[in-house]
């Protein structure tokens, strides 16, 4: 319809350039007026101490999110495997369930959790994570072998196992950070500490059924998450507590 070819070239080019320039200019005008109110968000302030604390809080947030995700996976697996574990819905056997981590003293209430020392709390977290490294891997193997469970269960169990492993490393980093900051004393043992090894020793988990394993881990992951939150709000309360 528009015979652009009929337009002389010397008119067309400047016209196009002018239109583009005007359009760009107006767009910039519109947006710049809005951009003036924006401020650049800085994650880390100038002060080192703020930055450190901020980073610890950031670390805590990451770890907490990680643990929350792990607990979510265990929750999904548990609800899904309840169909397969129907025979084990026997109340008697359920009451008699005994998790292999029962020997680890964990605070059962808020007061207990707040009363405990942060180092002890950290220790509990570490023990729990250490205690579940092998059983989770074993659980994954069992689920993978079991033909009753579909691929979803196998993938999730593997993911759960990996996450527990990662969480241990993350918590370890947090502990190191806290020890660096002097938040907690250096008495907190690492993964290779004998207490941790003893705690992880119990081979009682090998005799547990898969359903019990899953049930116990679901609870323990919730504990880990909760303890981490308490720890964070105790150490770095100003950010999201």
């Amino acid at each position: 319809m528009f015979q652009l070819k009929s337009w002389p070239q010397f008119v067309l080019l400047p016209l196009a350039a002018g239109v583009c320039a005007v359009w760009v200019g107006m767009v910039c005008l519109v947006f710049c007026s809005r951009l003036s109110g924006m401020k650049a968000a800085s994650i880390c302030g100038n002060a080192q101490a703020e930055c450190h604390f901020l980073s610890l809080a950031n670390l805590f947030d990451r770890v907490i999110q990680h643990s929350a995700r792990m607990h979510g996976i265990s929750n999904d697996l548990h609800s899904e495997f309840e169909l397969y574990f129907l025979p084990s819905k026997n109340q008697v056997s359920r009451v008699g369930r005994n998790c292999h981590t029962s020997n680890i003293l964990t605070p059962n209430g808020k007061e207990n959790a707040q009363r405990i020392e942060r180092e002890e709390l950290t220790e509990v977290i570490m023990k729990l994570l250490a205690a579940w490294r092998d059983p989770l891997w074993h659980f994954h193997q069992s689920v993978a072998r079991n033909h009753r469970f579909n691929g979803y269960g196998s993938n999730k169990s593997l993911e759960m196992s990996d996450m527990a492993h990662e969480l241990r490393k993350g918590v370890q980093k947090v502990v190191e950070k806290m020890q660096t900051l002097g938040v907690i004393s250096n008495s907190v043992g690492g993964l290779a500490s004998p207490e941790a090894l003893l705690a992880a020793d119990g081979s009682g988990w090998r005799f547990m059924k898969d359903s019990d394993l899953l049930y116990c881990f679901r609870r323990d992951s919730n504990k880990i998450q909760n303890y981490l939150k308490i720890l964070k709000c105790r150490i770095v309360p100003e950010h999201g507590c």
Partner: protein, 634 residues
Amino acid sequence: MKKAEGVIILWWLLFFTLHAEGTSYSLPGKPTLTNCRSPEKETFTCWWEPGSDGGLPTTYHLYYRKESSDAVHECPDYRTAGKNSCFFNKNDTSIWINYNITVVATNARGSTFSDPVEIDVVYIVKPNPPEKVTANVSWNKSWPSLRVSWDPPQKADTRSGWITLIYELRIKLEGEDKWEEHPAGQQKMYNIYSLQSGGTYLVQVRCRPDHGFWSEWSDSTYFKVPDYFPQERSIWIIIMIFSVFIFLILIWAIHMNSHTLKHHILPPVPGPKIKGFDKQLLKSGKSRDAFSSLVGSDFPPTTTNYEDLLVEYLEVYIPEEQGLMLEEGKDLHDGSLKSKSYTSDSDSGRGSCDSHALLVDKSEEEKEVGQKSNQQGGRTEMDLKRPEESPEENILNYSHANVGSPDVSCEKVKTWPSLFSPLTENSSGPLDQPDSPEMAKQHCLSDSLFPPSPLSSPFAPPGHKEVLGSNYQEYSFGNLHPQTGSHQYLRAHGNMNVANIGHKGVPADLQLPPVRSTEYVEVQKVNNENMVLLYRVSSDVEKGCPGRRHTEEYSRLKGVNNDNGLLLLQRMVSEEEMNICPYEDQESSGLTDSGYTTSTAQKSTAYIPPATQVLDERVAGGYVDTSMFTLPIY
């Protein structure tokens, strides 16, 4: 009396028994634990639903067992949470431990245990709704925004991280039904920007722990957005300028391409294109030149060779045995009678009627039988007579000829009608003369008799018999018209041996009148009596009696008298034939009435000028008295 009393007592006992069934004592019904809830993950409450009480006062007890111990404990607090409830305070609540709870209903009759319920407090947390929901309307660069803020429920300890709550708020306009929900995560405030100015809104907030149940919605908080007008004029100004700019560009583009657009929207109407036509010449005013190319060189025809145009002609050919087979030629106007079978005549037929084969001696003056010439052509009027007319009125003209001779040429035949032209419309019905072995149709169009006439009457389609009739009729009209002028009478002399006459050639006594007229004579058949039945062909067949041939048989030649006149026997046409066509009726009626009706030229009536009074089957006389023709019978 005793019996009555006994009956009464019996009835009373029965009545009481029935009544007493409703109040019988039984074990209490089975209670059911409906739910257990913890508002802050530190305490929890369980509620149960009692069953039927069994008619006796029933007490309910709740017993629980913790996971790792076998000790059975009873509910510490039945009242705090209301009726049929059990409240576990902080001391009795342990997290991450399974509780096995059972409710027992006990009455005098016994106890009924409910189904046990296992709970873990962590998973039954349902917090209280958030508190202190506030909504503040603020202005952000003249746009209103709403900031909703709230506090977590009081009991839930989120500060220590014991509980992590996730919030959600919903907002709606006052009066609407649909809420607009916004998940807020863990934050305790939320901004909303899409607000109507002057609207009143309701906002509600609720929360839930990360693994738990949603709380109830908080109480509605009302807030009103004040009216505002956008103050952002600068943006509107920019938009307006840009629009004007674009508009100008569009105008310019349209102007540049106006021509193309015009063609696109309103396509030009194509003008007429005439081959060879030059519009410029027309515009210049030289119309002659402009139209010159249109004028064909061959139109109108410069030379009119009518003779070439005429295609119809009569062909008369004589069958071998008897009778004449006439084939109607196409050349009507020519009036040529052509005989197919005749060998002697090489002429196509034109003018052949002038030859010696004339049967009728046409006398100009003396003979009464004359042939009326009709410039228009037609037939001899005198000959025209309808057989359906009353015989008294009509002249019986009989034309009797032996047409059996194969040698009868067209010319001979041609003369016949000139003699007597009673060509009657012949129906296909009965012929009175019957024994003619053949049915011969003879159309004789005498060229000599029939000058080409510019008759408006139809140019009959070649070969059409009606044409003959038309000409015939015209001829007859022509006879009547004074325009025609001279009437020539043809004296018909019949002879039994007309054919012989024919063979002989033109009888000496037969003289053709100089008037040339053409007529149609249709020989229906030739009977064995050597009679030629001539039929007048109606010209009016087109009017509605198509194909109808009035078979008025005139030409039954009785004989030829001494005067070389043909004695014509008029045949009475059957009555039915008279009614064939209304036109015919008219004719016949007319004719019957007057015997000799004159009609306008347009009418195609056949007139048979009665020369003499004719009786059926009678020879009125050997003569067709021409003098009589002009005189009406009556």
